[in-house]
């Protein structure tokens, strides 16, 4: 197991290096430059050239790349051009919100997706199943911004139960901040619950048809034990995979929800960095996010062993 983890970590280093190079190239292949964006519409070419020189953007690309690699090796993510602070700090400032939002949204997605998926599989073909599958199709097809705006209209404006947007005033308590995340988490959780529901249902259906389930039933075990203990545990691997992927995607992919609710999360940081051509932030954030992807994948792989004793590393 330990050997496996170490080997995977080694592979991760290689992946990260490739990511670093790709991110550097992509950020610069896209036209547009941060100096022009910062100076606004009325800037003259001379202003832009002067700012480029100050930001070190007039160095040849090769020189910039070597400097960048040097930084990465020393675990320095660089300094944001636009925010005028270290990239690591900018990421850290947004880590709390993104962590809570991801956990809440994944929680909602799992709490809806898994139980309804199980019921749907057990009641295959019956009205309950058809309604659940239909609703899942609907939830997966509705864009999350629409869900967000609708929730906002009814639950924040018409009924003032939740705040419309933001992450709370400067003196907000943790509870108030979490209160601000409820609607965004629901908006983000609902479409993802549909995906988890579909996977749970399919995976359960496959397992429920297996011989050992028939055996368990033949032994006279109650339905609850058959479904939850015998079937679900064996159906869990694809479900875990999809939960892991959903979590990874939400870290930087919650951008639409973050924009609708004006949340200063990691996704928002990455997209505004792209629009501002803030190269160090694009590079640093994508590097960290890719690192988290790889880590989450590793965690999911290790969880396989926990749910399925046949898997050994």
């Amino acid at each position: 197991m330990l050997v496996y983890v170490v080997r995977r970590m080694g592979g991760m280093l290689a992946v990260m290096l490739i990511v670093a190079a790709v991110v550097f190239v992509i950020a610069r292949v896209v036209p547009g430059d941060p100096a022009a964006v910062m100076l606004g519409a009325a800037a003259t070419p001379e202003d832009i050239a002067a700012l480029r020189a100050r930001l070190g953007l007039d160095e040849p690309l090769a020189v910039q790349f070597v400097l960048y690699l040097k930084q990465i090796v020393t675990l320095d993510l660089g300094h944001s051009i636009f925010l005028d602070r270290p990239v690591a700090q900018a990421l850290w400032e947004r880590a709390e919100l993104t962590t809570f939002l991801t956990l809440m949204a994944v929680g909602i997605a799992v709490l809806i997706g898994v139980p309804v998926g199980i019921v749907s599989a057990v009641a295959r073909g019956r009205a309950v199943d058809q309604v659940a599958v239909g609703l899942a199709m609907l939830a997966a097809s509705i864009p999350s911004f629409w869900i967000g705006l609708t929730l906002m209209k009814y639950l924040a404006v018409d009924l003032p139960w939740f705040p419309v947007s933001g992450y709370g005033p400067p003196d907000a308590t943790l509870g108030e901040r979490l209160h601000h995340l409820v609607l965004p988490a629901v908006a983000l959780g609902i479409p993802n619950s549909a995906l988890i529901l579909r996977f749970t249902r399919t995976s359960m259906l496959e397992v429920l048809g297996d011989d050992y389930v028939r055996t368990a039933r033949a032994k006279g075990l109650p339905q609850r034990v058959v479904v939850l203990k015998h079937a679900l545990r064996n159906a869990m691997i694809p479900i875990l995979t999809v939960i892991g992927l959903t979590t990874a995607v939400m870290i930087a992919g919650a951008i639409v929800t973050e924009t609708v609710f004006s949340l200063p999360g990691v996704g928002n940081l990455v997209v505004s960095a792209v629009l501002r051509r803030d190269y160090p932030v694009i590079q640093g954030a994508l590097l960290v996010v890719s690192g988290l992807y790889v880590l989450i994948n590793l965690a999911v792989d290790l969880l396989y062993a926990a749910v399925d004793p046949r898997i050994r590393y």
Binding site: M38, F100, L275, L287
Partner: protein
């Protein structure tokens, strides 16, 4: 952050972040709840004063809080509360003193401006404003501000005659000088000489305005709080001029990039003011009992800038054909929908402003494809592609460029419409070979010489001998009514040489909570003199 994450989670993240960064991050985490200022402020000034908080939803995060180097409206809206200039504009866009004690005394040859300063003005760091601060600030302005840099070649010297008098000597008469000194973007903001470091960024954001910066958290909020030692100019409040009183304890600017969210936040009472709202939401805003929609006029005008340096559009007749082909009416309708939000106005200055002139704008709104086709024939146009840059980031520009494309094709143009993101467009327009026209917009500026396309260095590069002569005549004319006539001459040239097409006037929909009393609608919203009803 640190309080709520388990040690393992934190450990994983920390592996990816440098140790140096960790110490910064740990400090940041420890202070999250306590909300420490991110931007440097004197320690003694950190406590927020008691009193009301007004939350203003802005369209996004400003690129900087230094008002000198950029001409972004968003930056002006926020920083005009913190920084002040020598002069400003009243409700009729006439010049009025702010940090100056009175209008400048101008010598007969128009080259020496003697500016008396107000005494007893205190900066946010507690120091008193003197002529030395003004000289240092103005010198930085000539190096850093796009407006200051255009003035710099004309400036001979900026000196302090005594503690309360500044003298600006020019190499030739330059009538726009006082208007330039009064602008709140690319602003000649007066700061203590200690925070000026040549052309570099300010060492600290210290101004003399009614509000001072308490805390800035990018993408989250900017907190400006009442400056207790503020020294206000005298006189009845009028536009940006007259008495300024910070009745609201804290003005908090919150970036809310999604326009619908700004509307919903207003309706829910979470914000007391929001700017740049989608015009189609006016009906929904009117439903709100606690919200009052505000129409800001004059506000802005969309422009189609043409490149006078590429083979096709360098030909004046081709540019005249473009002007003849377009239908501003259909373009504005497509862009803004409700005619209540725009006006078909060819004069660069709208009616009601000092420089309005309808007669010289007769070439506006022709929509005559036949005439355009004839002009094209006359120009010897052989179907070379016209590369037009536009961006979906400004939805109204994108929509009107689609209509323009159709009109131009109808007149016989071969149009290559290139849809880019705004950053790419801004970069590409700097390359004189890469485009023939692009769409942008301009917000209202009180002084015509501040309009971007009047500047020969601005992409499009309108710099004919006739224009140069007309601009020089305008800039050296000191008499206000004669200046209006010189501007009409320039506008005549604008419709003959067609360096740029003005598509129309559009208005900005803003909204204020009914609890916000005493708010004065102006193109750059400000919140001194306003108060929050209990």
């Amino acid at each position: 952050m640190a309080e709520t994450d388990g040690p393992n989670k934190q450990g994983e993240i920390m592996n990816l972040i440098s140790r140096r960064a960790f110490s910064i991050a740990a400090v940041g985490a420890a202070l999250t709840i306590g909300a420490a200022p991110v931007t440097g402020q004197p320690a003694r000034a950190q406590a927020a004063p008691s009193g009301s908080v007004v939350t203003v939803a802005t369209i996004g995060e400003p690129p900087t809080l230094d008002p000198v180097g950029v001409t972004s409206d968003l930056v002006s809206i926020i920083t005009q509360h913190m920084f002040e200039t020598l002069y400003t504009f009243d409700g009729e866009w006439k010049l009025t003193p702010l940090l100056a004690a009175a209008a400048p005394t101008v010598s007969d040859d128009g080259r020496t401006y003697t500016i008396p300063l107000r005494t007893g003005v205190t900066f946010h760091d507690g120091s008193a404003m003197t002529a030395a601060d003004v000289v240092a600030s103005l010198e930085r302005w000539t190096k850093v501000s796009p407006r200051g840099k255009t003035t710099a070649p004309i400036v001979d010297s900026i000196t302090a005659a005594d503690d309360a008098t500044v003298v600006i000597t020019l190499k030739e008469p330059f009538a726009p000088l006082t208007a330039l000194l009064a602008m709140n973007n690319g602003a000649a903001a007066i700061v203590p000489s200690e925070v000026v470091d040549g052309a570099n960024p300010l060492k600290a954001l210290v101004g003399s305005g009614p509000y001072r910066l308490l805390e800035h958290r990018p993408d989250q909020y900017i907190r400006l709080v009442r400056f207790d030692a503020y020294a206000s100019p005298e006189g009845e409040p009028n536009g940006y001029g007259g008495r300024r009183e910070a009745k609201i304890g804290e003005v908090r600017f919150v970036p809310v990039p999604n326009a619908t969210t700004r509307v919903e936040g207003m309706l829910a009472g979470q914000y007391q003011f929001a700017d740049s709202l989608p015009t189609e939401m006016l009906g929904r805003l009117k439903q709100g009992a606690n919200v009052e929609p505000i129409m800001v006029k004059p506000f802005g005008f969309p422009l189609m800038i043409m490149n006078s340096r590429t083979p096709v559009t360098a030909n004046q007749t081709v540019r005249q054909a473009v002007l003849a082909a377009l239908s501003p009416n259909e373009m504005m309708l497509a862009a803004f929908g409700d005619p209540a939000f725009f006006a078909l106005e060819g004069s660069i200055y709208a009616p009601g402003t000092a420089f309005h002139d309808a007669a010289s704008a007769a070439g506006y709104n022709q929509h005559d494809p036949k005439k355009a086709g004839d002009l094209l024939k006359q120009a010897g146009y052989k179907g070379e592609p016209i590369r037009i840059l536009t961006s979906t980031q400004y939805d109204f520009l994108y929509k009107m460029s689609l209509v323009a494309q159709a009109h131009l094709q109808q007149a016989g143009f071969n149009v290559d419409l290139q849809v880019l993101d705004w950053a790419t467009l801004v970069q590409r327009r700097g390359d004189e070979k890469a485009w023939d026209a692009f769409f942008t917009y301009h917000t209202f500026v009180p002084e015509p010489s501040l309009i971007t396309f009047v500047n020969p260095a601005y992409p499009g590069w309108w710099d004919t001998p006739e224009k140069r002569a007309a601009l020089a005549a305008f800039n050296t004319e000191m008499d206000p009514s004669a200046r209006r006539a010189r501007w009409a001459d320039l506008q005549t040239l604008f419709y003959t040489q067609v360096p740029t097409i003005k598509v129309g006037e559009f208005y900005n929909l803003a909204a204020a909570g009914t609890a916000l009393k005493g708010y004065t609608p102006m193109p750059w919203p400000f919140f001194w003199n306003a108060e929050l009803a209990k």
